[in-house]
Amino acid sequence: MLLPVNASMLEACVLSVLSREDTYGYKLTQALTEKTGVSESSLYPVLRRLQKNGALTTYDENFSGRNRRYYQLSAEGRSLLHAYRREWREYKRSIDELLWEEGCEKCQPTEMDGGDPA
């Protein structure tokens, strides 16, 4: 991957996935490694850190004879997610401005850039 996802972005992604529904480790790992290209070894440390910060809690649920540990977003996790989303929007806008500067002929997105980002 040309632009690797850093720790904070991965944290934001975990929070966002959990904001939709409570999820267990395996499914979370599958969803995130597929979309972001991070290695499996990156995920547990992020989950543990969020858990320690109180951004998410866990509960165990029985599934065909074994326990599944579900991760659930706390109120703090939700506000952290909103902070991340705001931050991301800002970040994305400034990077877009640099990559496709308005009013600059040479900077207009072409087919080679994958078309118009908007």
């Binding site: 480790g25 395996y26 290695s39 499996e40 070894s41 990156s42 547990y44 440390p45 543990r48 540990r69």
Partner: protein, 211 residues
């Protein structure tokens, strides 16, 4: 490698962490194995347990994250005798080492003095035998007019004594001569070696070719 091997390897590498942290991580990875389609698939997906352990240890601050590690330049290793530890050791063992050092020094001085004393005593005995024998011979003449036998006994004793002294001084002289000779030989050998070192090993070879 089996699932159990993998988990055991992970646990072994996390041994620096509190038990609670180890359990939490193990539990997470056990669940991944449980949920995966097959053990082999999970193993292939996860890869090396060391990599996972490394990330967990970095997160918990047990090992430095790669970014925080300095590049290149290893810290120079100071010799031990210049380290603070060495001098601390010296200072704190001083109550034991100082008396020991003083005692050994004193013993060495004592032995040296005893040797000198022994040499001086031997010389004194020889000198006194020599001088005493001669004095006895001279003193014997006082008895010559009265009792010739006493004169003979004293004169003979004096001769024996001075003879022993002479023998002793000859022995000492021989010993000193031997010491002097060996010292001279040593000096000569040293000078010879120095000369050879100056001229180099080629010197004698050239000489033999000319001849």
């Amino acid at each position: 490698m089996t699932r159990n091997d993998w988990l055991a390897a992970l646990r072994a590498r996390l041994s620096a962490l509190p038990a609670e942290e180890q359990e939490s991580a193990l539990r997470y990875y056990e669940e991944l194995f449980d949920e995966a389609g097959s053990e082999g698939e999970a193993l292939a997906h996860l890869g090396d347990p060391a990599r996972h352990a490394e990330r967990i240890l970095q997160e918990s601050g047990v090992v430095a994250a790669p970014a925080a590690q300095a590049f290149g330049e290893k810290p120079k290793k100071e010799p031990f005798y210049r380290s603070v530890w060495f001098w601390l050791c010296v200072i704190f063992t001083l109550p034991f080492t100082l008396p020991l050092a003083l005692g050994l020094g004193g013993a060495a001085i004592g032995v040296g003095c005893a040797l000198i004393g022994a040499v001086v005593a031997i010389l004194a005995v020889i000198a006194s035998a020599l001088i005493g024998g001669l004095v006895l011979c001279a003193a014997a003449f006082f008895f010559l007019p009265g009792s010739p036998f006493a004169f003979l006994a004293m004169f003979g004793g004096g001769l024996v004594l001075s003879g022993l002294g002479a023998l002793g001084s000859l022995g000492i002289g021989a010993i000193f001569a031997a010491i002097g000779k060996s010292a001279k030989a040593n000096r000569a050998k040293k000078a010879e070696r120095a000369r050879q070192a100056q001229t180099g090993p080629e010197g004698p070879k050239e000489g033999s070719e000319n001849a």
